[in-house]
Amino acid sequence: MQQTFSYEARGQALIIHLPKELDHHNCRNLKYETDLLLAENYINRIVFDFSRTEFMDSSGIGVLLNRYKQMTANGGEVALCGVNTRVRRILTIGGISRLMEQYENREAAVTG
């Protein structure tokens, strides 16, 4: 099964739907793809949607942190939604929980 990211624009927010397994292998194209989307559209909010994600390691943390740096450098924000217990544990250990707001559902995460 091909595990890729899918992207959805909602006004000035970009929703990134994360794959089932968020590891180094599946993160390889994310930087290139999001850089392209951010260059071509005015985006001031990225929403990472974890609804499908069952596995995550520190590669996922790297991806989140880099997007966070990119967005906050220009006054933008990063929000998370659909986080399950496992992913929450990884986010906490990775120090992400302090930086990015987590929302119950996608709509709330888009609105902020």
């Binding site: 930087k31 596995f55 390691d57 496992r86």
Partner: protein, 138 residues
């Protein structure tokens, strides 16, 4: 002691294979779901290190050995890649050699967070052996 060995090519798609095989092997120790996920994450970190750092995303073989003895699980991940000159420094949280900014530098921290014991032996030009232990079902 029960033992399992495998050799996999150093390819990023094999990170998942390594996790899944480890999960199947450790299931005989009757782990909790959390223990299973913890070990899968630690294995993923070690194999990813071998792929990215050990073999610099080039060709190579990753040697894995799994051992189960009573309730103790041991996971060994070895590469014959570039090695690590300063293991202590490499294991510091947030330390990374990656210039792209995409790597968090938390690989070893995650291994230590999710396993009881992590030991790293490395020699520049010879490769790296990561040995991780965890007591299952406490």
């Amino acid at each position: 002691m029960e033992r399992f060995r495998m050799e996999i090519e150093s390819l990023s798609k094999n990170e998942e294979l390594a996790r899944v095989v480890t999960a199947v092997f450790m299931s005989r120790l009757d782990p909790t779901l959390e223990e299973m996920d913890d070990v899968k994450t630690a294995v993923s970190e070690a194999v990813t290190n071998a792929v990215i750092h050990g073999y610099q995303e080039g060709e190579g073989i990753i040697y894995m050995e799994l051992q189960a003895e009573e309730r103790q699980l041991t996971v060994m991940v070895r590469d014959l890649g570039v090695g690590i000159a300063d293991v202590k420094r490499a294991m510091e949280p947030m330390y990374t050699t990656d210039p792209s900014g995409e790597r968090s530098g938390m690989g070893f921290s995650f291994m230590e967070a999710f396993m009881d014991q992590v030991q790293v032996e490395s020699e520049p030009g010879r490769g790296t052996l990561v040995t991780m232990r965890k007591k299952i079902g406490r």
